[in-house]
């Protein structure tokens, strides 16, 4: 047992935190959000320079990961800082979600072609997995991939693809066989976002990101676009997808940890400075006890963020599924408590967009509806629970 982070991880954390503390206040964030693609190209380059885009890219392809699946603990360290700073750049989507999908599902050749550009930030990737009417079920794939002489033709719709309209490449799940919701028959394809027949309806998201509704109308991709290495292949996409989404989920837990830590710090600071009835409001025992209850929740989030990062590497698929479901359910429930009461204890200021607290709460709320919400994860855990 060891709760310490490695020296490298601590260094990474320090440098990222320092960078973000210096250059990523709320005004900078607003500027990033207002930029044409919804994020700051300068910050993006800085992340690339710090190497954080390469964490989930295997060493063989210019990254820092020992192998496919990356290093979830490094990812935890990074995502926690991103949460704390409310970063809107597509780091999670490109450098965690898609890096893992490519490393898990791609051939060596595909990895060699795609990952260096991902790792150095020159290309941005986004995963287009969910579909309208499918909620959080990644196996709900109505989109089709029809084999042609030289490759495939894709048709269908993809829902709420975060950064989908800003990405250079999309990883698209489409069905080569089977019927909707079958795990069998799902394949993953690398699709150029500018490909003819691909339309992206871009919008903002509640929490300052961008999301796109993707329509695929006879999009032609070559055979080489099929992610076919690892456990992938032309019908094994479901397994790659599941593992990718689990790694994504562990990363969201870490982001949530950064957020709830920041929320409790902001709340404590507010309670110490805001005065009413002649004293700092933190003198009021009812508020003190609320903070204590919030801290009980923060510690749950911390425990389960660590847990997720450690257990997402398990080989046993069932154990991995349960662990991630447990972590994400905890984070949704405990996070909601922290967010709600952070707003409440900030009083009127808590419901303005002036302080960070409301932005944290919005991100925390939406993060818990990304790739599955509380009920989804609880049901998944319950299903696999030992009798």
């Amino acid at each position: 047992m060891d709760f310490n982070f490695t020296q490298e991880q601590t260094l990474l954390e320090d440098s990222l935190r320092r960078y973000l503390a210096k250059s990523y206040g709320l005004p900078a964030r607003r500027t990033a959000i207002a930029a044409p693609n919804g994020y700051s190209v300068e910050h993006w380059q800085a992340y690339a320079d710090m190497g954080v885009l390469a964490l989930n890219v295997p060493e063989a392809h210019g990254g820092l990961a020992a192998g496919p699946g990356g290093n979830p603990l490094d990812t935890l360290v990074v995502m926690r800082e991103l949460g704390r700073a409310l970063v809107v750049e597509p780091l999670w989507m490109s450098a965690v979600v898609c890096a893992n999908a490519i490393a898990l599902g791609g051939t060596d050749l595909q990895q060699a072609q795609l990952l260096p550009e991902l790792a150095d930030g020159s290309k941005v990737f986004a995963l287009a997995a969910l579909e309208p009417g499918g909620r959080y079920d990644a196996n709900h794939v109505a989109a089709t991939a029809t084999a042609t002489a030289g490759g495939f033709t894709l048709a269908g719709r993809k829902a709420v693809v975060l950064h989908g309209a800003q990405a250079d490449h999309l990883i698209v799940s489409a069905r080569v066989a089977g019927s909707i919701t079958d795990a069998e028959g799902i394949a993953l394809f690398i699709v150029d976002r500018a490909a003819p027949g691909l339309r992206a309806l871009d919008s903002a998201t509640v929490d300052g990101l961008r999301a796109a509704e993707i329509t695929l109308d006879g999009v032609v991709v070559p055979q080489s676009a099929l992610l076919a290495g690892g456990t992938g292949g032309n019908t094994g996409g479901a397994a790659v997808l599941e593992r990718t989404i689990q790694l994504a989920g562990a990363a969201l837990c870490a982001e949530a940890l950064g957020i709830v830590e920041a929320l409790i710090e902001a709340t404590n600071e507010y309670l110490k400075t805001r005065k009413q009835f002649g004293v700092p409001i933190g003198k009021f025992q009812a508020l003190q006890h609320r903070v204590a209850d919030m801290l009980v929740c923060v510690e749950q989030v911390r425990a389960m963020a660590y847990f997720a990062a450690v257990k997402v590497g398990l080989e046993d698929a069932g154990a991995r599924r349960s662990a991630i479901a447990a972590a994400r359910a905890t984070i949704a429930e405990a996070g909601r408590f922290v967010g709600k009461h952070a707003v409440q204890l900030h009083g009127g200021m808590g419901v303005t967009d002036e302080l960070a607290v409301s932005h944290y709460v919005k991100r925390l709320t939406m993060l818990n509806q990304t790739f599955g919400d509380y009920e989804h994860h609880l049901a998944q855990y319950a299903e696999g629970m030992a009798a």
């Binding site: 709420v160 998201t205 009413q276 967009d353 919005k362 939406m366 919400d373 009920e375």
Partner: protein
């Protein structure tokens, strides 16, 4: 005991429902039912429609042009308006400053202000909170100094109000101001009516956590207010403020509003598909809706009891505070569930889609478009109008007396 409405009440409900159905402009109704932005014009228009029908001031006695309704009738009216998609009547004029003017104002004030409130010719807002005085209202520091010049007696007002709901729509503001620093904090407060167009009054928007402009800062910089705008006596404003707070204690239950929002959750859950079935048919999701509907049922009885006690002339107990806590927690629980019902589509946010005339393409199902803005805005309810922590203080003071 009889918790069923009387035949007269049932008839009245039918009457209000028919009226709302017939008279509420469809564009306003659709904005409300589909969580679209409602303008000042919409609000004023609906109020004027009510006024034309004789319903401009549901809580006023007949002598002032009010309806003379019972508390039960007012509840039915509020419910039916909410369910029918009418904008909530902005309370600052007819329901807040008007009762104070009726009770403590002089003849000139009654004649000058009440008819225009009734006819919605003048839009009011409330100047209570200040940056340093939220829960601790009596510590307010906006000053009003009495003087006399060629134009007569007046006050010069300096200070800042905050969280001023709809100040950017208002013609008038009623303010608590400090006219004395002697004695207890409460003893130096006066109640002043200020024309928003007076030089020195500046309104600055406060943006809420999700793209809604509802509250403001109101800066008062050497604002000259005629002394005739003082309500009652100088330094007695705290008494009037408390009267105002105690006046409408039955309004917290908001049953119609909750019903409308819970119905929205059901409508979404019937349309969302989960594992091949409507989400509404998922036993766990349906149970979560049921939990809230049951709480709403309890709230309805609590709200009725509040009204009943008021009508029976019972002295106020902790019930109003209890209802406030329970009702505002329920708002947020319903909002959370609505977001969850929408699933991944809770995330996209299209500012243009918040307007009824949006002709573009929705990112997701249209019902998802306004959920987040509404839910995040609803976080204010547990904070404003006496935070739920202040309500708990009131409750425990009343029953423990320590």
């Amino acid at each position: 005991m009889d918790l069923n409405p009387s035949a007269a009440d049932r008839a009245f409900r039918d009457e209000v429902r028919s009226f709302v159905r017939a008279s509420l402009p469809a564009s306003i109704r659709d904005k409300m039912l589909h969580q679209k932005k409602v303008s000042r014009e919409d609000t004023v228009r609906w109020h004027k429609i009510l006024y034309a029908h004789g319903w401009g001031a549901p809580s006023w006695p007949v002598e002032y042009g009010g309806t003379g309704w019972t508390a039960m009738q007012r509840l039915i009216f509020d419910d039916e308006c909410a369910l029918g998609g009418a904008p909530r009547l902005v309370p600052f004029g007819h329901n807040m400053v008007a009762p104070v003017i009726m009770k403590f104002g002089n003849a000139w004030q009654k004649e000058r202000f009440l008819p225009r409130i009734l006819a919605m010719e003048e839009f009011w807002c409330q100047g209570y909170s200040e940056p340093g005085s939220g829960s601790d209202l009596a510590s307010l520091s906006t000053t009003a100094v009495r003087g006399q010049d060629g134009d007569g007696a007046h006050y010069i007002v300096n200070g800042q109000k905050t969280w001023t709901t709809l100040a950017h729509w208002a013609d008038w503001i009623f303010c608590l101001v400090r006219t004395s620093r002697e004695g207890k904090q409460q003893e130096g407060i006066s109640f002043l009516l200020i024309d928003m167009r007076t030089p020195g009054v500046t309104v600055r928007p406060i943006h809420n956590m999700h793209d809604i402009h509802h509250v403001n800062e109101v800066w008062l910089d050497n604002v000259r207010v005629p002394a005739e705008n003082l309500v009652g006596e100088e330094n007695q404003g705290w008494t009037y403020a408390k009267y105002l707070l105690g006046h409408e204690r039955s309004g917290f239950a908001q049953i119609g509003f909750h019903k409308r929002e819970l119905q929205r959750v059901k409508d979404i859950a019937r349309q969302e598909m989960a594992h091949g079935k409507p989400l509404f048919d998922d036993p766990r999701f349906r149970a979560r809706i049921a939990q809230l509907e049951i709480r709403l049922q309890a709230l309805e009885i609590m709200g009725l009891k509040l009204i009943w006690d008021q009508e029976q002339g019972k002295p106020p107990g902790p019930d109003a505070s209890i209802t406030k806590i329970f009702s505002t927690d329920l708002v947020q629980a319903i909002g959370e569930l609505a977001l969850e019902a929408a699933g991944p589509y809770a995330q996209p946010y299209q500012p243009e889609a918040q307007y009824l005339d949006f002709a573009g393409e929705f990112a997701g199902p249209p019902y998802a478009a306004g959920l987040a803005a509404t839910h995040f805005d609803n976080h204010k309810f547990t904070i404003f109008a006496g935070s739920n922590e202040i309500q708990r203080n009131i409750i425990s003071k009343m029953i423990l007396g320590l």
